[in-house]
């Protein structure tokens, strides 16, 4: 009996990579041709010349300040990133009948307020709100039918349906729908357009458009702590709920997502000492505990011993946060119930 068939595949894959690496080694170790007497003299002269040139270059570099390395582009400036995000927003053609709104037309809803998106030193988020006729499904469907021209891929899909995630349903009515478009990287800037629509009580939908631009290197597990902590997605901000993700593929995605987050060394992050009602996301044997106001996601196994803790912090890339969102709002079936203290 095989207990872990996926592990076998993963190990054989790793062995293949290892074998490929080992096969490449002899080529690197090819013996160097012995130079002839005159060759040796020429080689020595060339070495001296190379040292002199390298020294001169070093001096010039120091005087010139930061000079980009050959073949690589310098990190984009914040002004370039702002321009990229503004250009993304500017190109968006709202659906017919849309009316721009200064503030969120559906405050307190899943589409969140102005401060609910990531905007840290590694990414920038510009957004606009609209009131749009039609249901959230119709709005997102209309937008998805005309994807941006430099579309690279779409993400934020709950079940792989093209164009949009499946929204949370209330009495078979979609009340929230989202779609994300990853655009081609330009001048070292990662770009993403996200659309979220939520039903308005008086009819029509509120639409939020986010243009996100990412830049610079993002420190991962052992890097410096980020300055800004990302807020929880608005859909999970209300406490006291258990969210069960029932489909195996979704669990895998969510587990991979959580496993990719930087781990926390200390068991409890500051600000998490107060026991507050929390959201519990059940992923098979694993339970994920999200406490509003606490920058830490706790992962428990079998509900008993705290196995690993993870930080849900500003190190997330825009698309990472958006990957979690449909998992929590789209396919998740939400049931009420207070979390255990």
């Amino acid at each position: 009996m095989t207990y872990l068939p996926e592990l076998r595949d993963s190990l054989v894959g790793a062995a293949e990579r290892q074998a490929a690496g080992a096969g490449a080694e002899p080529a690197r170790r090819r013996p160097r041709r012995r130079p002839r007497p005159f060759g040796a003299f020429a080689l020595m002269a060339a070495s001296v010349l190379a040292i002199v040139v390298a020294g001169a270059v070093l001096v010039l570099v120091r005087h010139a300040g930061s000079v980009p390395q050959a073949g690589t582009r310098p990190t984009p400036t914040r002004a370039e990133v702002v321009a990229a995000a503004e250009s993304l927003l500017g190109r968006f053609q709202p659906p017919a009948g849309a009316v721009a709104s200064e503030a969120n037309p559906a405050p307190g809803s899943q589409i969140g307020g102005p401060a609910d998106k990531i905007a840290d030193r590694y990414s920038l988020d510009l957004h606009r709100f609209y009131r749009v006729p039609g249901t959230p499904e119709q709005v997102i469907d209309a937008i998805s039918r005309q994807p941006p021209p430099d579309l690279q891929s779409q993400s934020g899909e709950a079940e792989g349906t093209a164009g949009s995630s499946t929204g949370r349903r209330t009495q078979s009515r979609v009340v929230f729908q989202a779609a994300t478009f990853n655009l081609t990287r330009t001048n070292g800037i990662d770009r993403q357009l996200t659309f979220e629509a939520v039903v308005l009580p008086g009819g029509g939908s509120a639409l939020r458009v986010d243009a996100q631009a990412g830049y610079g290197s993002i420190p991962m597990p052992h890097g410096p702590e980020p300055a800004v902590t990302a807020p929880l997605p608005p859909s999970v901000a209300s406490p006291g709920h258990t969210i069960a993700i029932t489909q195996l593929a979704s669990r895998k995605r969510a587990l991979r997502f959580l496993n990719a987050l930087p781990s926390v060394k200390q068991p409890t992050a500051p600000g998490c000492r107060v026991v507050a009602p929390a959201n519990r996301i059940v992923l098979g044997a694993t339970t994920v505990l999200i406490t509003p106001g606490c920058p830490q996601i706790t992962v428990e196994t079998r509900g008993a011993v705290e196995y690993k803790t993870w930080r849900y912090a500003g190190t997330l890339r825009p698309n990472e946060r958006l990957k979690l969102l449909p998992l929590l709002t789209g396919e998740a079936t939400r049931s009420s119930g207070r979390a255990r203290p």
């Binding site: 872990l4 996926e6 076998r8 190990l11 062995a15 587990l255 098979g284």
Partner: protein, 188 residues
């Protein structure tokens, strides 16, 4: 012409070949996976930890296969040496390391309900005693555990047979296994 029978490769041969023949490591895995999972499950009583530790030990074995010296002992002893170290480290640190897996660029192991159930049914493999206890379970749980773990039928089929939803079958299997485990512990 009759095929010439060949002797199966030894564990040591498989390990030595795994540097250039990835499938040799797959065969090595096949030989020891069940034993290692059972070893860890009986030590930790947790399926997820057993799976995680198994993954890390095999990754460490793959990464260190080149350093294995058959003159110093059998491959099995070497593998279980790594396993005991890994287990001791886990108790000490309170978590399973993933250093070897990261070094090999392996994806985190995503555990499904099925995998966890399979590992948790290790207790049932002991035969007679467990089967007697199985018969003592409430009828709904017994039918679910019998169908799922012993007969390896899928949830959809069981739900149809037992005239309930899949999630109810899952609950019954989970409760039944929990009860069996508790009774087995007491019987020891």
């Amino acid at each position: 012409m009759l095929p010439v029978p060949t002797a199966p490769a030894s564990d040591e041969d498989l390990l030595a070949r795994s540097r250039r023949d990835p499938e040799a490591f797959g065969l090595f895995y096949d030989r020891f996976e069940a034993e290692l999972v059972r070893f860890f499950y009986r030590a930790t009583r947790r399926a997820d930890l057993a799976a995680d530790l198994t993954a890390e030990v095999f990754a460490a074995a793959l990464a260190g296969a080149g350093a294995f010296d058959p003159s110093r002992g059998h491959a099995r002893s070497w593998l279980f040496g790594i396993a005991r170290h890994e287990l001791a480290d886990t108790w000490e640190r309170g978590r399973v390391e993933d250093r070897a897996r990261r070094r090999l660029g392996m994806e985190p192991l995503a555990l499904s309900d099925e995998m966890i159930e399979r590992i948790e049914s290790i207790d049932l493999e002991r035969g007679g005693g467990a089967l007697t206890l199985l018969a003592e379970l409430p009828e709904d749980q017994r039918a679910a555990v019998q169908g799922r773990v012993v007969e390896e039928r899928d949830y959809a089929e069981l739900a149809s047979t037992l005239a309930c939803s899949e999630s109810v079958v899952r609950q019954r299997v989970s409760r039944g296994l929990r009860t069996l485990r508790a009774r087995l512990e007491r019987a020891r």
